[in-house]
Symmetry: C2
């Protein structure tokens, strides 16, 4: 299956919103990400429910950040997306009728769980503010002022 890039995409969008004073429309964000406005609305809808972003209709509407970037981690964003599956592999069946499969499941499940835990832990360690800070650090390093 194709790899899920929603987390990557939504982080991209959020950082762009952080650089903007006013609201950004789905269309503007879609242009930045090279995708469709509906895709933007789709991935941001989960974040809106959590109160991380706000959306306004009509003239001058669009999306704005509604949270303290230093209090939101990648893990929070990941959960707001619906906690999509992290691993591309899994056990053939979770209720094995055969002792051989019990053994195989046990060996693999432990590795799978540890890998997932590691990912979530890493996500929990990174705040949106730290990403934004990294961005500005690199911006200065390159000597540019404008974002793409």
């Amino acid at each position: 299956m194709k790899k899920d890039s929603r987390l990557s995409g939504v982080l991209h969008v959020l950082l762009h919103m952080a650089e903007q004073d006013g609201p950004l429309t789905s269309e503007a964000l879609a242009r930045v990400m090279g995708t469709n406005p509906v895709v933007i609305r789709r991935v941001l809808s989960g974040l809106r429910q959590k109160g991380y972003v706000r959306s306004e209709k009509g003239h001058g509407g669009g999306w704005t950040l509604a949270c303290d970037l230093s209090r939101i981690t990648l893990r929070d964003i990941y959960i707001a997306l619906g906690s999509p599956g992290l691993l591309a592999m899994g056990n053939r069946t979770e209720s094995p009728g055969c002792l051989v499969e019990v053994v195989v499941n046990a060996a693999l499940s432990q590795a799978f769980q540890d890998a997932e835990a590691l990912l979530l832990h890493r996500f929990g360690d990174v705040t949106l503010a730290s990403l934004s800070a990294d961005f500005h650090r690199r911006l200065v390093a390159v000597g540019k002022v404008r974002v793409k």
Copy 2:
């Protein structure tokens, strides 16, 4: 995407082969796994190329183990399957044209790489022999002699 269960399945098959003296046909293995014989041939073909199993045609033919179980790890099997992708998530683009995306990619890629490395490391720590030993340990514990 549906989760890849080839590693789980092929391990199941290999342990069954380890319990058998003579060769096992694709059809017999398919019955054990509740799948199609062609699927068995497909997943085992990579292992045959690596010399982990052998296949014989005609009467009395089928699949047999062709390696020392204590020298083959789950990682070897995983590689023989073609090293399928481990993670269900990825970066939206690997060649970002935007500094924001560079920052996002950097943050995510590190976590992704570490999770993959952890999985491969775990796989490398487990031999087929240890799985087989675990199976026999449990077999005794349950007081059974026959495998499913």
